[in-house]
C-alpha cells in the first residue's frame, strides 16, 4: 500500500528521531493498529517513538507544518479505541519515555515521563513508605500518560479518587510544539481549571510529556470482608447502605454469580459459588479506624441480608479474596472466545434495578453477561460474552452494550466511568449530550487544536453522525431530570 504521507515528511521524521525510532514496515506497524478493544483496527502509516521532550516538540512542529494527524499512544491497553490510528496520520508512541525523573519523599510527589507504567511509580515510592493511589486493573502495563488521558480509576478510587485527584502538574506539548505547564505542585494554581480539563481529554488537546503525581503514605492496616448474598438486589442495596451509613471503604466491588463461578474455576479463591453475588469491601488506615469501620460495616451488611460475612484472617487470605476479583477478566477470557467490556456509571441506588434490566437484555439477545465492577462508585463493567467467529454475534454484543449505556443515561448516569469515549462510544455521546453541548466541546477542541490534528475523530461526534445514529439528546423540557423529586 503506498504511503499517504509526504515522503519529505517521512524523511524528516527519520532525521529528527533517528531511523531506529521510526517504524514504517507494515509488519512492525501491526502492533499499533489497535488497543485492547481489538474489534476496531486500522494500520498507521508511521509510528514514531521519541525518547526526549525535544523530539516530541520537533515531531509535533513537523506534523503541524505538514498537517499530519497525530495519535498519541501509551501502552495500548485502552478499552475504547482511543489509539486507533488516523488513516492519513502517524502514531507517537511514548513507550520510550519511561524514566522516573524524581521521587520527592518530603513533598510526597513523583515526577515521571509519560511512558512510565502505573505500577512502577508505586514500586519506586515503596522505599519511602509511599505509593501512587489510582490502581487500574491494568496497572502492570498501562502508562501514566494513558491514565492521564483517560482519567483512569481503579479499585481504590472510592476513597482515593481518580487520576484527576492525584495529579498535581503536567507538562503538555501543544499541537504547535509549544510546552505548557498546567497545575502546580502547591495543590492549587491560579486561573481556569485547565489541569482538570487536560485530564481525561483522551489525547485531543496535547501530548503529555511529564507529570508530577501525588504520593500517599502506605496505610498501616488493611482489612477486607468477603460478603455473600442470595440476590444481586440485596448486594446492590447493601452497597448503597454502606455509603449511606457514613463509611467510605477503600474498595467496594461486586461480582455476580456468573463472575464468581468463572473466577473460582480459574483461581480457586474459595469463593462461595452458590451465592448470587458477593461484595469485597476493604478498609484501610490506622488499626483502630479499620476496626471501628469493620464493626459498623458488619452490622450494616447483616441488616442488608448478607448470607455470609468472612473477614480475611491474614494478609494471605486478603490477597486470595482479591485474587479472584483481579483475575476476573482473564477468567472470562477462558470461557468465552470474545468479550466486550462496558463501562457505564449510575447512581448507586439504581444498582439493583439496572442489574435486573441488564439480565433481561441479556436474555432477549441471548448473550451471556458477566458482572464484576466498582460497585461503590456505581461504575458498572458488564462483560458481554460473544464469539467473533459467529456471524452476527458482534453486532448483537454491540447492540446489547448500547442498550446498557442508554439505560445508564436514563437513570441519571453516564456512558463511561473510566474507560473513555474514544472511537467506541461516539454514538452514545449523542445520547448523553445536546447539540449545543457537543458544539461547545468542538469549540473547546478548536481552542487547543484549530486544525483538528490531535487524535481526530474521537470523543466528539459530528452532528451529522448523531443524526444518522438517530438519537440526539434533548433535555427533558430543558431542566435536567424533571422526573426527580425537587428537594
Amino acid at each position: 500500500m503506498p504511503s499517504l504521507l509526504n515522503k519529505y515528511f517521512v524523511e524528516q521524521c527519520k532525521t529528527l528521531l533517528g531511523k531506529d525510532n521510526i517504524i514504517t514496515d507494515p509488519e512492525a506497524l501491526r502492533v499499533y493498529e489497535c488497543d485492547a478493544l481489538v474489534a476496531l483496527r486500522s494500520l498507521p502509516q508511521l509510528v514514531a517513538l521519541p525518547e526526549t521532550l525535544e523530539q516530541v516538540q520537533a515531531l509535533l512542529r513537523l506534523c503541524y507544518r505538514y498537517k499530519v494527524p497525530v495519535v498519541a499512544r501509551g501502552a495500548g491497553t485502552g478499552l475504547a479505541g482511543g489509539v486507533l490510528p488516523a488513516p492519513d496520520g502517524i502514531v507517537i508512541g511514548l513507550s520510550r519515555m519511561q524514566q522516573i525523573l524524581a521521587i520527592d519523599p518530603l513533598n510526597r510527589t513523583a515526577r515521571v515521563q509519560p511512558g512510565v507504567r502505573n505500577l512502577a511509580i508505586s514500586e519506586a515510592a515503596k522505599a519511602y513508605g509511599l505509593y501512587y493511589a489510582p490502581d487500574p486493573s491494568s496497572q502492570i502495563a498501562c502508562t501514566i500518560g494513558g491514565n492521564i488521558a483517560e482519567n483512569s480509576g481503579g479499585v481504590h478510587c472510592l476513597k482515593y479518587g481518580l487520576t484527576v485527584h492525584n495529579v498535581l502538574e503536567i507538562n503538555m506539548v501543544t499541537v504547535e510544539g509549544e510546552l505548557l505547564t498546567l497545575g502546580g505542585s502547591g495543590l492549587a494554581a491560579p486561573g481556569y481549571g485547565l489541569l482538570a480539563l487536560a485530564i481525561g481529554s483522551e489525547g485531543l488537546l496535547g501530548i503529555v510529556v511529564e507529570a508530577t503525581v501525588r504520593l500517599l503514605p502506605c496505610p498501616p492496616c488493611t482489612q477486607v470482608l468477603l460478603v455473600a448474598f442470595d440476590s444481586v438486589e440485596q448486594a446492590g442495596n447493601a452497597v448503597a447502605a454502606i455509603v449511606a451509613g457514613g463509611l467510605i471503604p477503600a474498595g467496594l466491588e461486586l461480582m455476580d454469580n456468573a463472575a464468581i463461578r468463572v473466577t473460582e474455576a480459574f483461581v480457586h479463591a474459595n469463593y462461595p459459588v452458590e451465592a448470587e453475588a458477593i461484595l469485597l469491601c476493604e478498609f484501610d488506615g490506622l488499626f483502630e479506624q479499620v476496626e471501628t469501620d469493620i464493626v459498623m460495616a458488619q452490622s450494616i451488611l447483616t441488616a442488608s441480608g448478607a448470607s455470609e460475612i468472612r473477614i480475611a484472617r491474614d494478609t494471605n487470605e486478603r490477597k486470595l479474596f482479591w485474587a479472584g476479583r483481579k483475575a476476573a477478566f482473564p477468567a472470562v477470557g477462558r470461557i468465552s472466545a470474545d468479550y466486550y467490556c462496558m463501562d457505564g456509571t449510575i447512581p448507586r441506588k439504581h444498582l439493583a434495578e439496572v442489574l435486573r434490566r441488564i439480565s433481561e437484555f441479556s436474555r432477549e439477545l441471548d448473550l451471556q453477561v458477566v458482572n464484576v465492577f466498582h460497585a461503590g462508585d456505581g461504575n458498572l463493567h458488564p462483560l458481554i460474552l460473544y464469539d467473533a467467529g459467529k456471524p452476527g454475534d458482534y453486532d448483537k454484543a454491540e447492540k446489547l452494550g448500547g442498550q446498557i449505556l442508554e439505560l445508564c443515561v436514563q437513570v441519571g448516569g453516564t456512558i463511561t466511568g473510566e474507560h473513555g469515549v474514544g472511537m467506541e462510544k461516539l454514538n452514545y455521546m449523542c445520547v448523553q449530550f445536546s447539540a449545543a453541548e457537543l458544539g461547545q466541546f468542538e469549540r473547546l477542541k478548536t481552542a487547543f487544536d484549530a486544525n483538528n490534528l490531535l487524535n481526530p475523530g474521537k470523543v466528539i461526534p459530528s452532528l451529522h453522525r448523531c443524526a444518522e445514529f438517530g438519537r440526539m439528546h434533548v433535555h427533558g423540557g430543558r431542566m435536567s431530570h424533571p422526573d426527580l423529586e425537587r428537594f
Binding site: 519523599p105 518530603l106 513533598n107 510527589t109 513508605g129 482519567n151 479518587g161 481518580l162 485527584h165 505548557l180 505547564t181 498546567l182 502546580g184 502547591g186 495543590l187 492549587a188 494554581a189 491560579p190 486561573g191 481556569y192 481549571g193 485547565l194 482538570a196 480539563l197 485530564i199 503514605p217 498501616p220 488506615g285 490506622l286 488499626f287 479506624q289 471501628t292 456509571t345 447512581p347 466498582h374 462508585d377 456505581g378 461504575n379 441519571g412 453516564t414 456512558i415 466511568g417 473510566e418 473513555g420 469515549v421 462510544k425 448523553q432 449545543a436 453541548e437 461547545q440 466541546f441 469549540r443 473547546l444 477542541k445 478548536t446 481552542a447 487547543f448 431542566m479 435536567s480 428537594f487
Partner: protein, 355 residues
C-alpha cells in the same frame, strides 16, 4: 422546605441580550469575594443570588445539587442535618457567600490537602455560556469521563466561561470525632519539618497549620483512632479547636487583620523560603502560605516562581500585578475563553487586561 423559584430562564435572557448588544456584564453573587482579582470591566450587573435552592440531595449517593445562588451557610446546614459536609471546607468570609462564587473562585479551606479541593468535589454543572446557550456537563456520579471535564474547568474561572446555574458536588460524612492538638514551635524550618514528617505517615490528620508560634493539628476519624493518634503525636489539646479552624477558614484570625498586602502562595509544601520579609501563616501543611508583606509584587512573584510556586495578591492594594501567567498559559486562557464567550461579555478583565 420552600422551593425557590427557578430563575434560569430569566438569567438566560439577560445573557442573550448582553450577547446581542455586546454589553459586558458583571456576574454578581453574594459579593463575599468581590475583593479578589480585578473588578469586571462592565457597566451592567447580573445578580444571580435569587437563583437559589437545593434541587437534589441524596445523602446515600453522597451528592448534592444546588443552584448557584444558594448560600453556603444554607447548604452547610442542610448537609449537617444529614451528618454530611463539603469536605473541601470552603471559606465563607461572610454570610453572603454562595455556592456559585465558591466554585468560580475555586477556594478551598484547611482540609484541602487531606480530602481534596473544590475542583475535586465538583461532579457536574449547568451553565449559560457567553452565547447564551444553556449547557450541562458532568453529572451526579463520581466517575464520569464522557467528554471534556468542563465542570471542573469552571473552578477558578471567575465566571468568565459561563454563568453557573447549578452545581453538583460530592459530599462526605462528617467525621465521628475531631480533635485539635497544639505544639509550640519557634522556627519555621522546624514546623515545616514536623508537618512533612507527619504527612508522610498515615495519621488521620485533616488540617495542619503553623501560625508563626504554634503548630495546629486537627485529627478526624473514629474516636478510637483519634485517641490513639493523639496519644502518639503528643502536643496540647486545644478545646477551642473548632473556633480556630473556622477563624482560619474565613480569615477571621488576627493574622488576617493586616494593613499590608495579603498574598496567597502555593508551593511544594516542604519548601524553605525566607527571602521575602513579612508575616507568614503556613496552611495546608505548608503548601498554601499566607503572607502579609510590604514587599513589591514583582519581587514576590519572582521569588515564589524560583521556588516552583505561584503567588497571587489575595487582598490589598496590589491590583496591577496581582496575578501572573506565563505567556503561553495566558494565551491558552484567552483561547479557552473565546470558546465559551466569544464576545467577552462575562466578567471581562477580571484577571488582567484582556482576560
Amino acid at each position: 422546605m420552600i422551593i425557590d423559584q427557578d430563575l434560569s430562564l430569566n438569567l438566560q435572557s439577560r445573557v442573550e441580550r448582553a450577547f446581542q448588544d455586546r454589553t459586558p456584564i458583571t456576574i454578581s453573587g453574594g459579593g463575599s469575594k468581590a475583593f479578589f482579582g480585578l473588578p469586571a470591566a462592565a457597566d451592567e450587573t447580573l445578580d444571580v443570588t435569587g437563583h437559589r435552592g437545593i434541587v437534589y440531595y441524596e445523602p446515600s449517593e453522597l451528592v448534592v445539587t444546588a443552584r448557584a445562588g444558594t448560600l453556603l451557610k444554607t447548604l452547610d446546614k442542610v448537609l449537617e442535618e444529614q451528618g454530611q459536609m463539603l469536605a473541601f471546607e470552603p471559606p465563607c468570609f461572610n454570610d453572603q457567600a454562595t455556592v456559585g462564587g465558591t466554585v468560580a473562585c475555586g477556594f478551598s479551606g484547611p482540609r484541602r490537602p487531606f480530602t481534596g479541593s473544590v475542583s475535586d468535589f465538583v461532579l457536574g454543572c449547568s451553565i449559560i455560556n457567553g452565547k447564551s446557550e444553556y449547557l450541562r456537563f458532568g453529572g451526579r456520579v463520581m466517575k464520569n469521563v464522557a467528554g471534556f471535564d468542563v465542570a471542573r474547568l469552571m473552578t477558578g474561572a471567575l465566571g468568565q466561561l459561563g454563568v453557573l446555574l447549578e452545581v453538583s458536588l460530592r459530599v462526605m460524612p462528617i467525621p465521628e470525632t475531631e480533635m485539635t492538638l497544639c505544639y509550640r514551635v519557634s522556627q519555621v524550618s522546624r514546623a515545616l519539618e514536623m508537618m512533612q514528617h507527619w504527612q508522610g505517615q498515615s495519621w488521620p490528620i485533616s488540617a495542619l497549620v503553623y501560625d508563626g508560634t504554634i503548630l495546629h493539628v486537627r485529627l478526624s476519624g473514629a474516636e478510637a483512632a483519634i485517641k490513639k493518634a493523639a496519644h502518639q503525636l503528643g502536643g496540647d489539646l486545644d478545646l477551642d479547636g473548632r473556633l480556630f479552624w473556622a477563624g482560619l477558614r474565613d480569615h477571621r484570625l488576627d493574622f488576617f487583620k493586616t494593613s499590608e498586602n495579603l498574598w496567597r502562595i502555593n508551593i511544594p509544601p516542604a519548601t524553605q523560603m525566607s527571602k521575602i520579609s513579612g508575616q507568614y501563616l503556613l496552611d495546608w501543611g505548608g503548601a498554601q502560605r499566607w503572607l502579609s508583606s510590604p514587599e513589591p509584587a514583582a519581587r514576590i512573584h519572582q521569588i515564589v516562581r524560583e521556588h516552583n510556586g505561584h503567588a497571587v495578591c489575595f487582598r490589598g492594594a496590589e491590583k496591577n500585578d496581582w496575578i501572573r501567567f506565563d505567556p503561553g498559559l495566558l494565551n491558552l486562557h484567552k483561547k479557552v475563553r473565546y470558546a465559551f464567550d466569544p464576545c467577552s461579555i462575562l466578567n471581562p478583565h477580571r484577571f488582567t487586561t484582556g482576560l
